[in-house]
Amino acid sequence: MSGDSRILGLFYLSPYIIGLLVFTALPFAASFYLSFTDYNLMSAPVFTGLDNYWKLFTGDRTFRKSLWVTLVYVFTTVPLKLAFALFIAVILNYKLKFINFFRTAFYVPSILGGSIAIAVMWRYLFADVGIVNMGLATLGIEPVNWFGDPTNALFTITLLRLWQFGSAMVIFLAALQSIDKSLYEAASIDGAGKFATFWHITMPLITPVIFFNLIMQMVQAFQEFNGPYIITQGGPLKSTYLLPLYIYEEAFKRFDMGYASAIAWVLFVIIMVLTLIAFWSSRHWVYYAGDKRS
């Protein structure tokens, strides 16, 4: 490659590189430094060593509660969302009438799902006199206190996340359509039933996509903010107080940016460790090109 081409290439890449440095790398490094400081946004940060982390792991009941709620939320929503997305993708893989309409209709919620408007709509749907309780009443079921009962509130927020299964579904659908049809024909000739075909042919062949969706959905679930912020404000009794909400309130309501940065770094480490575990485990269950990865 000539020198001119190299410069031109760097020039084309520069918007991305500058954006990455300014909006990702710099805040990333700054937050790491701030996590070792006492910084109230209005005056210069004061270095305090490991004080923030010490407080986090020894004396902060709210952090422990928030971490537990976040883990419950992630370990509930991610498997359910993946299972539901795969289930719908399998159905939409059949040649049905108006199939393109149904594919679009199921995808739309994932575009709208994270928006403020949908979170507000959720608030009305699950209100004490909302459509959900009205529907239950027609079945003779007592109305449920979705947001006011600590045991139900997290479930309601979880449902909002599940409703946004469209993007995972589209990826599953693409994977299902890329499977060689001759494999199904061979299985059929050998007398395999539908479940056996799905379990022994479809599932192994889409494990790379399951793995990809697992990582993406897990990272996104750990970062959930809009739903609990708009619908429950983290309550009642901090039952929906996910870590991003706690980080936000520490930073912008209590003006403790140093402590908020420390929580953010703990969250980052948790996501990183779980991602590494997922990568390590993938050796045992993800198959590429039909062969078990070495």
Partner: protein
Amino acid sequence: MKLTKLLLATAFAATSLAPLAHSADLRMSWWGGDSRHKATQVALKACGDKYGHTIAAEFTGWDGHLEKVTTQIAGGTEADIMQINWPWLPLFSIKGDGFADLNQYKDVIDLSQWAPEELDAGSMNGKLNGLSVSTTGRVFMFNKTALDKAGVPVPKTWDELFAAAKQLKTKVGPDAYPMNAVKETAVLLISLYATQKTGKDLVDPAAKKVAWTQEELAAAIDFYGKLVSEGVVVSQKNNAAEGNLNLFESPKWADGRISGSYEWDSTFSKYADPLKGQVLQPVGMLKNAVAKTEGVYRKPSMVFSISKRSKNPKAAAQIVNCLLNEPEGITALGTSRGLPASKIAAKMLTDAGKIEPQIVAAHDIIMKAKGPTVSPLNEHPEVRAVFLDTLEEYSYEQLDSKEAAEQIIEGVNDVLKKF
């Protein structure tokens, strides 16, 4: 030839723009409801036209506004003119250097329109950081139409309030309530009861500690518990079930099923507007015979501040003066931020009959009622968070009133130690 034409055109454009050379592009941020948003935009247009400035409007609801302003100030991107809540002054400018010192613009802003104590309230460390827009306080307000329809008299004491709840349940139904008290309003109702009983504000300014004993605060929390158990106010749990709606957005407020609340007098219009065709009546401080004081929670309302980083502070000062002291701004803003603190604005609106009688009545109640001086630390975000979180635990029966009082006092004292 082309170049000559271009140069001539540029010279002509520069000449024609010369009279506007003093004009400035400004930004102003505020929080509020629809009526305030509309009035302020009209006022900014009028004042902008008068001085040849353009002012971009940045407005939100109350929720999240502190976070927005904090982020902007930390990033140095705040608006030139800001509506700042009075208790936020110590957060942003404890040494007085967080905002522009408006004393430097007294040739532009007519400071004689404010009483010296009002200017003191907006000053930090001797620097005038904000001009008081109005004095405000919490006032009781009842939907008179809804109560009349049910044949229930408007309550004037705590005992009458409890009696009203019983009558409403009988005559209207189990989901009729004469009062609303969730979250911040619940905190302030508890504070009101404790203040009436003790004659003291929450914060002892000299000792920098909570002024109430654990028993006194526990009694006030028990009082709130009684309000819930006797159906005077909706419980926190049931309010959450409705989706944590603001009262003024709630259908139950609009149709009169909730027929009273305890709100800032400056927000009277926000609560009156949804009650189409119904009368919202401000009422004097509810109390019982044994109360040591009416316990009014009165404070300077929001202030208008100018960014210390504004590139056009003088132009911003012109707009602030126009909004608060000149006919164009006064007429357009009206009572969208309560009754104005500026003498000339108050006189102009009163003379013109522009102030609704109920707003005058609400403000009169606040100004005439007695109570201890309120510390701005009552509304420090951490103090408020301790109170709100503990009250939620009490409401969900995780704590009894004594434990809740102990937790609040310990938590608030921890925050007060920092000042």
